[in-house]
Symmetry: D2
Subunit: 284 residues, 4 copies
């Protein structure tokens, strides 16, 4: 058969009738709701919804949008519709530590993540062979104080030329400028190697070791101009002991970071994450 699946995300001020209006239009097209999630933020009276629909042959993204237009207007909704037949395109950025990159590539290879890596960008040469073996274009762009603006311009060009949907900072150790963070708002996911908001900034495992914590963690978040303050998508912690060195924390952390980042990317690519101010709604 030639059914297609679409993800519809919408948000608006909450009031009665939203779900009825949307689902009635979908039923009118013969579309079936495969999955539906919603959240009403009582603090802000904001309503969030994600619907996965299977639509009969001939119903395309444009047709869905047209059918929903009256409801969108009536409730003043922000809407996004994704055609799951179109494979999302991602750019992965990495510095020297490549565990998170390798984990992403593996999860794509076995089909758990559904995405096409259109480029690997690094400020180091280390991962060139990894990228090339997978047939992924590799760009080694060293970053200095002087050329940062220029290199970020190249990244933005690459993003546009490749039609990329998402940039993943898989242990990329350069801070993006405020300007770039704003331009790619909601389209850059970073993995921070601590349980935020603990241990912001550099060398978080060493900070954690110095503090004597009994758990360490990792946090995947959207990048915003406020460093390490972006909306959190996913977190996880694991137990550590006094007998472990800071390097043992780093090694334990590698696994946590890899998993947390991969899960956050999957949630994003499946359109399960919606921005709610500086927080996220995650329809897991």
């Amino acid at each position: 058969m030639t059914e297609k699946t679409f993800h519809i995300n919408l948000t608006c001020e909450d009031r009665p009738g939203i779900v009825a209006a949307v689902t009635t239009e979908l039923a009118g097209l013969g579309a079936n709701i495969a999955e539906s999630n919603q959240f009403w933020d009582r603090q802000t009276n904001r309503f969030f919804m994600r619907i996965a629909v299977t639509a009969p042959q001939g119903v395309e993204r444009d047709g869905l949008l047209r059918a929903l237009e009256p409801a969108i207007a009536r409730f003043d909704m922000k809407t996004a519709i994704a055609d799951t037949a179109r494979r999302p395109k991602i750019i992965i950025m990495v510095s020297k530590f490549d565990h998170a990159l390798l984990h992403l590539l593996y999860q794509i290879r076995v089909g758990w993540l559904d995405a096409e890596v259109v480029a690997v960008v690094s400020n180091h040469g280390d991962s060139r062979s990894t990228a090339e073996m997978e047939g992924i274009p590799y760009h080694c762009w060293k970053v200095t104080k002087d050329n940062k603006q220029e290199q970020e311009a190249k990244l933005l060009d690459l993003f546009k030329e490749t039609g990329a949907d998402l940039v993943i900072l898989a242990r990329y150790m350069q801070v993006l400028s405020n300007d770039l963070s704003n331009r790619l708002y909601g389209k850059v996911i970073n993995i921070h190697h601590s349980f935020l908001p603990s241990f912001k900034g550099a060398k978080p495992y060493h900070q954690a070791h110095e503090r004597g914590v009994k758990l360490i963690g990792a946090t995947a978040h959207y990048v915003t101009p406020d460093l390490d303050e972006g909306p959190i998508i996913e977190q996880e912690t694991e137990r550590v002991t006094h007998a472990m060195t800071a390097e043992d924390f780093v090694a334990t952390g590698r696994d946590i970071e890899s998993r947390v980042l991969a899960r956050a990317v999957k949630l994003h690519l499946e359109n399960r994450v919606m921005m709610n101010g500086h927080k996220t709604v995650v329809f897991g």
Copy 2:
């Protein structure tokens, strides 16, 4: 204000239009969807839905049911509507170990669980003072091979007389008869002190210790005639070591059991658990 909140649970064969039909009727009543969850079981093509609605003054359970009747008939739905203003009534059964009982009573006291305990039933006298201090009727019904049928008849009477909604076996060490299990199908939750299906039957912590496992767990499930085979609602595990005795396992297990049971009871009382054959759908 005098808004009321209702939980609507429904299940039927999946086909397009279900959500639209139901939510359109709800919108027609001016009811607002506060929360909605659904699940389509592709293996069986079965559809499950739970909606929490806030209805304007004057709309009652009967009115909701009437409004939904055409949709119920059209899609051949099984439906349940709960008025959250009516506090659920529960009977807690316990033998000697009272940690799970105490945890339930505490969670009710602080309001995390919303329920009225209409009776504590035990085959031992140990928890009498606990029950009495909280002003809960306490029934000590010793069970022997000879009087088991009679005692179960008393339990069934108590269930009817008190208008109870749920029986909780909070470490009640007697096995319910097949007959009683069938009569109270879906209305009895047990906590089994192992990670089912491992270590069914008696002394699971000692079995686990003997096997040398590195994690122990607990399982809350509905009671069915097949002992320890009922639909699982909630499970959790915790790490153990070779240095721990079977008694240490028991002590660690107390916390796990208390939490897992309380969470399962909360999910049930909030109508978040739906039976799907011998499995459950849990809208957490």
Copy 3:
């Protein structure tokens, strides 16, 4: 039989021969090592050891100490020897939220924690009946800016008079003065209701909710003059979602706090925690 068990804790600069010297003396007394843990902190070259020994009839704490004296002198050890036949005495302090208090009392009742509660002290009257039912002296000492010094003096007197070994702040919402923190250094355990160092200070669950974290936690630590900076004994986290309110965080947190505090207290009472500067060594 009349064997007795002792816990010997010692710390000194690391060099060869420490274990041999100590265990040779113990063997000379006919004492058997039931459990032994050690840690060499390479950063500071500090050595830490805990030994649980069963000693034959007639060997007492003093005899052990005398036997170990040459080794203590030779390696310049700090040593503590606890006779497990002597039940530790504890003072529990609480404000309004009583879940952590109740959990401690329950764990003592079932024998998981081995301690005698010599007093419950509160700045509120709420837990009086709980304490009295267990036959524990209850002191309601309101604290104001004006009488704080006086009330702390009463606490210190109580500590001395009762021969208490440990003060537990089981959600006691008053900050101890620097002076008292110093006088009771290493003898006061607090439960902070966040995953430290995140969300220090007041209303941590509300801070966490505002930040949009995906995990919340609790931290048991020794009290020092630096608020929320004391050596961490135990931590744990649990998953939360965007759909939970700050109050849901509080409810989830109650269980975490109760468990984390009880585990930290057990570790301390079993002499498994040793101070290592502003960190702890925990022989779990």
Copy 4:
């Protein structure tokens, strides 16, 4: 400097004086105890100990053994001494699913696991390029009912010729014969893709899905003639939901299996695992 580190593992019937006897000999050689763990199994009165010592220049494995010989004889100890300067050699066996293999190779590459992979053996051709890229000899030995004995003989020859210390079944889907299991007793680690003893045998994730569990897990254990009954080294579980398919369980399981197997292998290679009948003592 030229200090060397050795791991000394010993087990014997428990009685006073063991630790003193052993550590006195070590002190006599000027060896320093970097780490020490012990366990007294009260059920069987068996004593287990692992000591990591740094020995001064000139002290070798033979010298340590000679020094300990009187103690070994006196207490009838079973002893093993490993020179950590000698890198352990491992053979990894794999069928089609290569996630656990890749994770092991990665952990070796970054130094978290210290081992030399002397061969990858498979009954399929899939991982040939992976092995060859790392310069590891690859053997594709198809197994049928008729040639099983012959292929196992080749494996045993390979084990001897390469001087291998450990065989790792990293999702190798053939069952080893009783004869081979016995010959390599304690030297073969398997990852079973369930939380044993639940879901032994084939397709455990599908069994788990059918049962409707809320957690899935993985178990690393030594291989014995009793299939899926070998001594457990390490286990872990992760949460699943009704909304996940059996294939989602498989995908979630990949991460768990990879981590659990890698941790078990690390524990084994660091001589932290000791057999205690059909259980293990794990000095983590």
